[in-house]
Each structure stands twice: as structure tokens, then as C-alpha cells.
Amino acid sequence: MVLKKLFSKTEEKFFHSNTLQNNERHLGDYIFHNVTRLFAFFVLGLMLVMFLELFIESLPSINKFGLSFITSSEWNPVKDKYGALPFIFGTVYSSILALMIALPLSIGVAVFLTEVAPTWLEQPVSILVELLAAIPSIVYGLFGIFVLAPFLKNVVEPFLQTHFGFLPFFKGSFYGFGMLSAALILSIMILPIITSISRDVMKAIPDSLREGAYALGATKWETIKIVLISSRSGVLGATLLGFGRAIGETMAVTMVIGNRPEISLSLFDAGHTMASVLANEFTEATSSLYVSSLMEIGLLFFLITIIINSIARLIVNNVTKKYGKIA
């Protein structure tokens, strides 16, 4: 979508300059113009095809279950009954939990990088944070299985249960695998994107704003607060992008979440996500309704991620544009 917007802008400019030059078209420009247009439409077309394909494939399930597909929590391949609520819940719950952990951390790191760290430290730390994003998902999953889950099971979860066991979040028996480990792994995975975009947004805030605050007698912390408030919409965009990433993450989550279609507030319980059910069950799907139901989950998943990512991109672009002008 962004591509298309960008594209139509260059197109406008192109035609505008042409009318000025009395419609003298240069062949190179003409070819370039059309080739880029082709690429842009190719991307759009690809998305359209994917959407249509998913939609057609999920028609049997849509016809059979209607709205109850997203309200029913029964996922029973044996009885050939399918309700996607546990997966929607698991996806949203694990992602929100991951955000709750990652957001404060990310903002803290971004503030450190832009407002506190000396220049010689800024670059290496930024690079390290961004390297986190380069680690393959499966490596995070392995780390989750062999390091995080045992640690949670032996240390963290017993502690949480004895001290906070009265809360619905820390009830039931624990195995190390489940919502908590999924949320923790996810939070590490979305930390880089939230951090780096928040950092960029805070960097885009002109220094004149900080100086204005200092000159009014603001302390360092008060100045940072003003910077934070001024960059809030950008940070919101970064958060949504992180959320989008968390929702879409498949491998690592599948490896640690426990993969049971349950709806439970307890962080100790196993769960399932839209991504992990797709990864897990496609090979086992025997009946055509089963396949179609998985397709419908894919369709929902496709729409949710596209919507969240588009909103996030829009917000981030707007903010950088706004401050780009002031700076």
C-alpha cells in the first residue's frame, strides 16, 4: 500500500515535469517508469492472489460454521468441529504479554541511546540490539526449550506461585512450557524493532525542543519526559509494529507454548496461537473441512497482520514526516 502511494507520487511528478517540457518524453524515463510500475503492481497482485486463494479455500469452513468459527472454542478434528477462538486468544494474549515486557525495556533502551549514552557507546549498543533481530527464530526456540523453560520451571514459576499464587495469572501446575515462556521469548524477539524505531523517532525530535526545556529549568529527567511525550505517536507506531511481529512469529512460539488449544489466563498453562496451529497441523489435516478451517485461520491471520502493520506504518511515517519538517 505504501509502495502504491509512493509510486503515485513519482508518477504525478513525472507527468507534471512532462507537461512543462512540452510533452517531450525521454525513452529511458518511459521504460523506467513502466518497469517500476510493473514491479509495484506485481507486489499488489501477489497480495491479492494470496488473499483470494485463502478466501476460496476457506469457503467450506465459512459456509459450515459462519461466525461461530471465531466464537467457538471447540477445536476437535475427531468430531470434525472447528472453532478458532483458542488460537485467536492465544495469539493476542501472548502478544500482549510480550508487549508488556518488551515495551518498557525498549523505551528504556531507546531513551538511553538517544538521551543518555555518550556517542562512543551509542553505535555499538544500537548494533547489538539490531543483531538480536538477525538471530533466526529457531535459535530462539532452542534457547527457549533448553535454557528458558527449565529455568522458569525450577526458579521463576515456583517463586511466582508462592508469592503471587492468589492471582489468576499464576494458578495451576507448571512445566516451564506455556504462555509465560512464549511471552518472554516473543518479548526478546520484538525488542529490536520497537527499540530501533523508538530511537529513530526520538532522534527525529529536534534538539531545539530539548534546549527549550533545559532553558526553562527542566532537569535531565524532565527533558526526557518532554521528549517522550513528543514522540508518543511514533512510539505507538513502533509498538504496533512490534505487536504485528509478535502476532506473526511462528517457530519459536510453537516450540515453547505447549500447543494445546486452551483458553486460560494463567501464564503457566499451555496455549496455542494461529501461527503455531497452522505450522503444526497442516501435515495432519485429513478431512477437507479440517484443511478449510486451517485456511480460514490463515485468512484471519493474514488480514489481522496486514491491518496492524499498515496502521503501524502509517503512524510511523506520519511522525517522521512531521518532525522532518520542523527539524
Binding site: 529536534p206 531545539s208 525542543l209 530539548r210 534546549e211 527549550g212 526545556a213 533545559y214 532553558a215 526553562l216 529549568g217 527542566a218 532537569t219 524532565e222 518532554i226 511525550i229 513528543s230 508518543r232 512531521k322 518532525y323 520542523i326
Partner: protein, 266 residues
């Protein structure tokens, strides 16, 4: 309003006692290894306007940024002595110093996420001031002082950045005087503005000097002549000449000052 009558009024009102508000002695300012000012000494008198003039890069901004220790915000350092009411400014907590010595910047910089009203009282709120009706009173008072009240009284809740450049600059001045500073530093406050807004700012400076000590950096000779009581001419980080504005402009003692004023360099 022509400049001559204005200078005359300045002469009349400046007659009474001349007290030193700030004093600068042997000020040398550095950015790392770069020396931006060397051994600058001068007095800044209470309830007078001091204009700092000089060619680009001569250290004018650096000089006034030393006065409220904004120089250290960008990692600069200075040696020498700067006193406010006979107290070394290094003895002050920088936050408290900056509340006493306020600053207006070249480019208007209202806080973009705050309304007009919140911008004016931003400094007070930082001070922990929370009384709503009192804040309103102060905001109105400050906006009146900067002659902005009539223009914005119906849009106090609009974003500060929605005002015109000249209005934004007056808003920033209102924001500065709201915390009741004793000294106001202005770094080319009108250089980004159109002639009418500039005239308004100059009038404002003229009014403000009844209550505040003002140091203004300007590239505009006429502006310096119009608004200031004293003028200092800096050149390559050194103070070349410092005198009453009238004297400095009519009969400068230094050849370089004369050349600069006449527009022969800089």
C-alpha cells in the same frame, strides 16, 4: 515609531542608578579542543539591554549560552568567572540558574505536543506549580505582556505550533517570562521573522527592560541600535569594544568596530 525617538527615550529612562546584574571576567569557552571565546570580560547591567554584535562564528551564541550554562548541555566548557548578583554561577544548581536566567532561541521552539496555554505554563508546571486558576492568571498576564493575548485568547487550547512564526516566538518569550527570570537571554530572536513580527519583538524588548535584564544577540545593526543600552562587539572570540550603544555606533574607538558597523566586513 522611528528609531531616533526611541533611543532618546532610552537615554531618559536609563539615567537612574546603574547596577551590575552579571559580571563576566576572563571568560574562555571551549568546545573540546576548539576555543570559541578568549578572555572576554564585561558587565551586564540591571534592567538594561545589552546587545552582542559581531560576524558569524565570532562566539556570540557561545557567550550568551555560557551565561545560563546552556554551553555545558552541548558538552562545552569554560574557564573564567561569571557571576550573577555577585555569586559565581557555577555555585548554582544549573536548573535553578536557568530559572533565573531564561533564554529565547533563534528559531521559535514551542513544545509541539502542548497547547498554547500549556506552553506558557510549562516552566511553572516543571516547578511543581499546580494551582489551576493561578496558572490561568499567570498565563493571561504573560501573554498580555508579550502582546499575544488578543491574538490567541480564543485558541488557548490549540497546539502551540499552529501559530505563525512571529506568534510562536512571542509565545516562547511568554513561556520564558512566566517563570519570572531576572535575566533574559535572546539569541537572534527575530532573525527568522518578517519585518512586522520583528518590530513587535523589538517593541516587546523595549517594554521588558523595565523589569528584566536583557542580553540580545543580533546580526542587525539597526536592531542593536534601536533596542539596546549597551553594545558589545565580538570578533573572533575576543571582545573588541564595549560601550554605551550610542557611543559605540556614533564614535567607535576601534577601527574594526567602525568597519563592521559600516558593513565593510562580516
Amino acid at each position: 515609531m522611528n528609531s531616533l525617538t526611541k533611543t532618546e527615550t532610552i537615554e531618559k529612562t536609563t539615567k537612574p542608578e546603574l547596577k551590575e546584574k552579571m559580571s563576566v571576567k576572563y571568560l574562555c569557552a571551549y568546545f573540546g579542543d576548539v576555543q570559541a571565546l578568549s578572555t572576554v570580560s564585561m558587565s551586564i547591567y540591571k534592567k538594561r539591554v545589552l546587545a552582542i554584535i559581531g560576524p558569524s562564528g565570532c562566539g556570540k551564541s557561545t557567550f550568551i549560552r555560557c551565561l545560563n550554562r546552556m554551553h555545558e548541555v552541548v558538552g562545552g566548557e569554560y574557564v573564567g568567572e561569571i557571576k550573577l548578583d555577585d555569586v559565581d554561577i557555577k555555585k548554582f544548581n544549573s536548573v535553578i540558574l536557568r530559572r533565573k536566567v531564561g533564554m529565547v532561541f533563534q528559531k521559535p521552539n514551542p513544545f509541539p505536543t502542548m497547547s498554547v496555554f500549556d506552553n506558557v505554563v510549562a516552566g511553572l508546571k516543571l516547578n511543581g506549580f499546580r494551582n489551576k486558576s493561578k496558572l490561568k492568571e499567570i498565563a493571561e498576564d504573560c501573554l498580555k505582556k508579550v502582546a499575544l493575548w488578543d491574538e490567541v485568547k480564543d485558541s488557548l487550547n490549540k497546539a502551540g505550533t499552529s501559530l505563525s512564526g512571529g506568534q510562536q516566538q512571542r509565545l516562547c518569550i511568554a513561556r520564558t517570562i512566566a517563570v519570572e527570570p531576572e535575566v533574559i537571554l535572546m539569541d537572534e530572536p527575530a532573525s527568522a521573522l518578517d519585518p512586522i513580527s520583528t518590530a513587535k519583538i523589538e517593541e516587546l524588548i523595549f517594554d521588558l527592560r523595565k523589569n528584566y535584564t536583557i542580553v540580545i544577540v543580533t546580526h542587525n545593526m539597526q536592531q542593536a541600535a534601536r533596542v539596546s543600552d549597551f553594545t558589545a562587539f565580538l570578533y573572533m572570540g575576543k571582545l573588541v569594544e564595549y560601550n554605551k550603544t550610542k557611543k559605540l555606533f556614533i564614535s567607535p574607538t576601534e577601527k574594526r568596530t567602525e568597519d563592521y558597523i559600516a558593513g565593510r566586513f562580516g
